[in-house]
Amino acid sequence: MLNTDFVRVLHLDLTTGETRVEDRRDLWRDYLGGTGVAFRLLSESVHDDRDPLDPSQPVVFANGPLTTIFPVVTKAAAAFRSPLTGEYGESHAGGHFASALRYAGYDALLLTGAAKRLTYLVIDGDKVELRSADAMRGMDTTETGRVIRDLVEGAGHRSILRIGPAGESRIRFANGNVDTFRHFGRLGLGASLGSKNLKAIAVIGQKPIDLPADSRAYKKLYAEIYDRVLHTDAMKKYHELGTPANILPLNEMGALPTFNVRQGYFGEAAEISGEAFAEGELITKRACAGCQIGCIHVALYRRPFAPGWEYESTMVAYDHELLYAVGSLLGIGNRPPILRLIEEIDRAGMDGISCGTALAWATEAMEKGAIGPQQFGGIDLRWGDAERYSRAVAAIVKGDTEVGQWLGQGEVAAARHFGALEYVAAAGGQGIAGYWTGYAHVLGHLLGARHSHLDNAGYAIDQKLDPYTDEAIVDHIIADEAERIVQTSMAICLFARGVYDLGTIGQALSSVGIEHSADDLRSMGQRIYWERVRLRERLGFQARLEDIPHRFFETPTPRGQLEPERMARMLEIYQARRASALS
């Protein structure tokens, strides 16, 4: 932590309620924070031979050395054994969580065990308290946040991470909702918290941290980065239309996954574009603590509920991935139904992308007769029919039908059960993000530690790389992820990656008395990359062609139709890189 030479870890055993604070110099020196620290703490405590939902499995959260004290350093990293894939789980969230944890006096939080009954945790500086959440059983994420805001003393400078009914019922892609509009979205952290009977974590951060005695360099650099963030093009996209700016250009190049990735073009893309939402529904933007961009685009979802001009309205945050996952992927080309599904999925506490890919799989499986409405409480899924999708979302959370129950395990498990793997659009066990650009996107999803497009930006490699050779693709995927590990160990929001090159990160660290050169940081990122691969392999990760579904070799991309033979060659190149790094 700042002005010290250690990472302060708060351990909490939820079974006994015992806490312990540990100051780790080795973590400060070798892993910095965020991704590095979360991964390392998990590797020390995870049980290779136990189920992801076993109460003994750890869940780790970590902020970074630059959290909140520089612009757009807003993320917390979570590490856990993924309930969705069974292997390594890592997920990042913005909001105020990382910041509140920092000012509560901690750099990392390590949870083990399980509470006997539904519980919420309050961390208020040195005071750590477990309280009954019995009254919140089944409560959605919005209402849970509201109730806890009322119950927890202390105004402002706090954050509330909570799960919805989906996390309580261990839906394998349940998420953790942070401060209403941000999420530990992917890989099922919500189910892990549910398995610990932990409904929410409220963190109050009010501790004073002094600037260094000579703060001139720090103040100067802060102002420089602030000006780069706001007054250059580096982050323009994120505060104007936001990520939904991608919808139209992707669609134009045939890279917007549509109808369960059967095509890369959606005829109604203009209706669900960033431009259309901005003109029609956008009412405000919101930011994470210490980010002047405010990329959170909030829409007004307004609908009549009775004759006589009776309207109800709610605020729903949208972004590119959601517009893809419950828009083009399901063939929904109208904005209000998309907002409706986003809201329902979010309140239930599920990851929007994974819920969308599961529903897309189910729609196609039903269309082809692999599953039937009679196995799904009579819900006859149809492309573009939001009303039926809304019932399906509820049925997944409820888990009282065969299809609903299996969809709650993720579409890969469901597809195995029903014998319909040919409709799966997932790599490495998790549904893909909203790009259909080529080899690097698919390979990046498979090889990435979070099985996320943000691990290594394969979608961008597909769009920019020239020459587009097998070696170059693999090497870029590895190198980009290794560099992003440095950024996420800080834990800088990756939207600011253009502002925070390794040299700037080194300067920022130095201005607060932490010395790491750009070269040091680069090698640290590479070392952590391969250490994390080792942990992932311990937990069952393999880079295999079998984990890339048939669907991805059927649907043309802007780089042409993907060939299994070429993908296999890339995997061989990856194996060679792996062998030389881990030997």
Partner: protein
């Protein structure tokens, strides 16, 4: 004429904490948002509206200056609000209680108030132009 701080465009606020961090960093030598003379809050959670608790720069009599036993806080000549001389402050806490809008914070480490000095650092670091230094109107 002296300038005072105003928050006329809070409907544009995105809740980024940048103003609080600027005040803490530039004036109070701290990384911590509670050490800021401007406090931005959401009323009704993040779905609610953003508000800024700031010094309203009372015209004379200035309540915080009135109760200050050492003239660390004094009314500003010919304007509104007060001047603050930290060296004179004995940490009696009376200004905090006297503030009619309860916006004077307290630095318990230094045992000194966290008060607005109308310097405009929060304005400089507001990305959405919510804040402004304006000429004080007296009377």
């Amino acid at each position: 004429m002296s300038k005072i701080l105003a928050a006329p465009r809070m409907a544009r606020c995105i809740g980024c904490d940048s103003c609080m961090l600027a005040c803490a960093r530039m004036i109070y030598q701290s990384f911590s948002p509670p050490k800021s003379a401007i406090q931005v809050r959401s009323r009704g959670g993040v779905m609610g509206r953003m508000v800024a608790n700031i010094c309203t720069a009372c015209a004379e009599p200035v309540p915080c200056a009135e109760v200050c036993p050492t003239e660390a806080l004094t009314p500003r000549a010919g304007g509104r609000g007060m001047s603050y001389r930290k060296a004179e402050c004995i940490g009696c806490h009376k200004c905090v209680e006297a503030c009619p809008v309860q916006v004077i914070g307290w630095d318990s480490e230094q045992n000194k108030p966290v008060v607005c000095i109308f310097c405009g650092q929060c304005v400089r670091f507001c990305p959405h132009d919510c804040l402004e230094l304006v000429e004080a109107e007296v009377g």
